[in-house]
């Protein structure tokens, strides 16, 4: 694995013993971990191909401790990598050799559940599903549902602006968080938003959500709670071609229907899922749609009829409507098991995460098949069809020399293709280190400079999670310069890249 991380600061490495002692004074007891064996669980996140032992692991328990740790690191020029549950699929929590790994796992309390105002105030280490579990006895839930929701934390969700399978109707994390308390690298504590709608002032909350731990460390989150819909029902539809399936999705939306979820799987993913969980997926189709509708019984019944009619008009070859909750969950079981199911077909797989304009799906699938042939690697596709988020799973064997590099090159080509057809590099997994070097495919130098200057406004020394998201580290002073003379930008005709 040839991953370029910022060169370690030798002076920080040399001070390790002192840093451990100083941090132990701030976070006493078992809050500082520095033996290699004990740090092992922190050496990677969900992208286990990337590994790096941190300088030291710190597990604070209070906002004050976080503030003091960050202030100390800021004063000493020490890098900090924040971490939630470590489920990132982009290497966002990959440690740095000279960096403090700031684990937020001990912030695991639900502070307040305010049903009357339909919100909950929680610490960042509470799991996504933990929020729903705490309120479901009153019929409420927290809407974004990334597939790792049993393990991933709300703090990590804020860092990554996590999605899930219901985002077209219910939004991403950013649409469901009302406020945060966060600590800047200087140790300053700021509060953005609260229990009210619209945070007020500049919408820095929008910048923080999805900032991948580069802007600050979130120590409290206020989330919106929703009442659970009365019922949810799903329909499972098979199509002879992916074009037909894509056409069906477009026509459902054109009919004014926003389903709770629309998932698509291609032939390889269907076969893998069916072999794994045996839920009765049709095996003689090129594409399978799961369309889920939720709301009052009367609405679901009405829309299921509409969706079935539209599907038939789009050449569907099989169609099953869930009659029971058990059957609905069965439809989903295959989709939800798609990753491990594909994992059984191959020693290793790489999960990509591009988003495309939905109408480009047939073209992207065709090109992907060509790439698959060229690289000699198989690819299975699951697709959040409602919002255009595509998860190609590239199958490879890391024990075959060169195959992982080949898989990564294949993945990079797929993401380039996504950008070429009007899409983006990542829909929900984040840029992290994984897609960092592809950022110039989507953004030119000026675009990136505007983003990196925002980083400077939060973190002037670039100490928070450096080496993630941006392909090149710039010093803030260099980014801040204005290259303007006589009212002209220099070289106005020069192409920017």
């Amino acid at each position: 694995m040839s991953l370029r991380l910022p060169a370690a600061d030798e002076s920080v490495l040399a001070r390790r013993a002192q840093i451990i002692a100083d941090l132990s004074a701030i976070v006493p007891g078992e809050g500082v971990i520095f033996h290699e064996r004990e740090m092992k669980p922190y050496e990677s996140d969900g992208v286990t191909a990337y590994k790096q032992m941190p300088l030291v692991v710190v597990l604070p328990q209070t906002t004050e401790q976080v503030s003091r740790v960050l202030k100390y690191c800021h004063a000493g020029g020490i890098r900090v990598v924040p971490r939630g549950a470590g489920t990132s699929l982009s290497g966002g929590a990959l440690p740095l050799q000279d960096g403090v790994l700031l684990g937020m796992g001990k912030f695991n309390r639900i502070l307040d559940i305010d049903y009357a105002n339909r919100c909950a105030v929680v610490q960042p280490g509470v799991t996504n599903l933990g929020i729903t579990r705490a309120v479901e006895h009153e019929g409420f839930y927290y809407a974004p549902d990334p597939s790792s929701q049993i393990a991933c934390t709300i703090g990590g969700n804020v860092g990554e602006n996590s999605g899930g399978v219901h985002t077209l109707k219910y939004g991403l994390t950013t649409n469901n968080v009302l406020g945060v308390e966060m600590v800047l690298i200087t140790g300053e504590v700021v509060r953005l938003g609260g229990r009210h709608l619209d945070a007020g002032g500049l919408d820095l909350l929008a910048a923080v959500i999805g900032s991948e731990g580069l802007l600050g460390v979130v120590t409290e989150v206020t989330v919106r709670l929703l009442k659970k819909p009365d019922v949810a029902r799903a329909v499972l539809v098979g199509f002879p071609t992916s074009e037909d399936a894509g056409d069906c999705v477009a026509k459902i939306i054109a009919a004014g229907i926003i389903p709770a979820g629309i998932e698509m799987m291609d032939r390889d993913a269907i076969a893998a899922a069916e072999a794994f969980v045996k839920v009765g997926y049709p095996l003689d189709v090129e594409a399978l749609l799961i369309v889920e509708l939720d709301g009052p019984e009367a609405e679901c019944a009405h829309l299921l009829e509409e969706v079935s009619r539209i599907a038939a008009a789009c050449n569907s070859s099989t169609l099953r409507v869930s009659r029971t909750e058990e059957e609905r969950l069965g439809f989903w079981a295959g989709r939800k098991a798609a990753f491990p199911a594909v994992g059984r077909l191959s020693p290793d797989y790489l999960c990509m995460d591009g988003t495309i304009p939905r109408k480009q799906l047939p073209l992207v699938l065709t090109r992907m098949r060509e790439l698959s042939a060229r690289y000699g690697l198989r690819v299975a596709n699951v697709f959040h069809a409602g919002d255009g988020n595509l998860h190609p799973l590239i199958l490879y064997d890391a024990n075959q020399p060169g195959e992982m590099d080949k898989a990564e090159a294949f993945g990079a080509d797929i993401l380039r293709l996504c950008v070429q057809v009007g899409g983006v590099l990542t829909g929900e997994h984040g840029v992290g280190v994984e897609k960092r070097d592809l950022m110039p495919e989507m953004f030119d130098a000026t675009d990136l400079a505007h983003q990196q200057r925002l980083k400077c406004a939060f973190d002037d020394q670039g100490l928070l999670n450096p080496g993630k998201v941006f392909p090149t580290l710039h010093r803030c002073a260099e980014l801040g310069r204005m290259h303007v003379s006589g009212g002209q930008v220099p070289f106005p005709d020069l192409p920017r890249f």
Partner: protein, 404 residues
Amino acid sequence: MSMTEQVRISDEAELVAAVASAAASGTRLAIAGRGTKQGIGRPLEVARVLDLSALSGVTLYEPEELVLTARAGTPLSEITALLAQNRQMLAFEPMDTGPIFGAAAGDGTLGGLFACNLSGPRRLSHGAVRDHALGIRAVSGRGEVFKSGGRVMKNVTGYDLPRMLAGSFGTLAVMSDITLKVLPTPETEETLVVFGLDPASAARAMSAAMGSSCEVSGAATLPAEIARRRPEAPADVSVTAFRLEGFAPSVRARRAMLISVLMPFGAVEVLDEAASRAFWVLVRDALPFAGTAPRALWRISTAPMAGPVLGRALSEALGAETFCDWAGGLVWALMPDEAARAADVRAALAPHGGHATLLRGTPEARAGAVFQPLEANLAALTARVKASFDPRGILNPGRMYAGM
């Protein structure tokens, strides 16, 4: 005070040149579309106005992909008409600020709407302008064009600048293109109404409705002194209203459910589709307060349960007329005269949390803090963010905060 020069911008290249030239000379700029929201924010002292009204046109609209891109100066009416042809809408229900500023309704641009992030009643269920922002092209105070976001629904590639720039009142960058998520227009709507609730009961009724699975997409309460001005008002009593939208069979089913939720609070009446539409336009555009300029008008966002009680407190203590949208979370408060009484309004709000914006006031009133003053750490961070986009402070200087 010197004369203000108008510069008409008709394409992005002109916009880049105009901002770059101002950046080079340190010339302070006001950014305007059709000028309908110039009364919002602190008064500007600038040498030059960039008029973006000719930077206009929808450049991409794919109904089946739920996406629309338009240049910042595109009239909002053009966008809503185009969407209506495909039975789609801007789901955040943009507020038309014309009536409260004594101007015609139906004017204004996409850029102005985006810059002010002024969402209507459906903010409650569907989110704000910023929640529907997918991508932008813009020119920062450095005179450089940059893009962020994209045209797809789900995107976490880089910082979410489109949402951050929504509601920044043109102080960070001048939008060139804005891409929004659009949604289908509901097939039908109706509104259930309960009369005569006091503020605390209205808050509880709205909380009960929002805490049900009825998918209420608008919840507002108008005290008697406001409600009685509606031509169709039945009597001198408060009105608490709940909107249901969607496919007809769904609305019918939810009506029955919502009536049983509201029964403990009083008798429920139904406004049909036409009456429902009219009612929510009244709430959206704060029509009870149209024609009341130059009296100071506040728009206050707070915790929903606090809103109606806060409204009552502002009435009693300051002589304000108030009503609430967003299930109580948005309080409109009209002061008895031109005095904004900012310190009193914010002191009353403080225990509940939230922010108060002086949406309309005389220039003298607006020279004070129009937006909720920021705590010191946040103020310093906000100033650094401003400087990162606009280091010479040329874009709408001072419009949000003095000296920034």
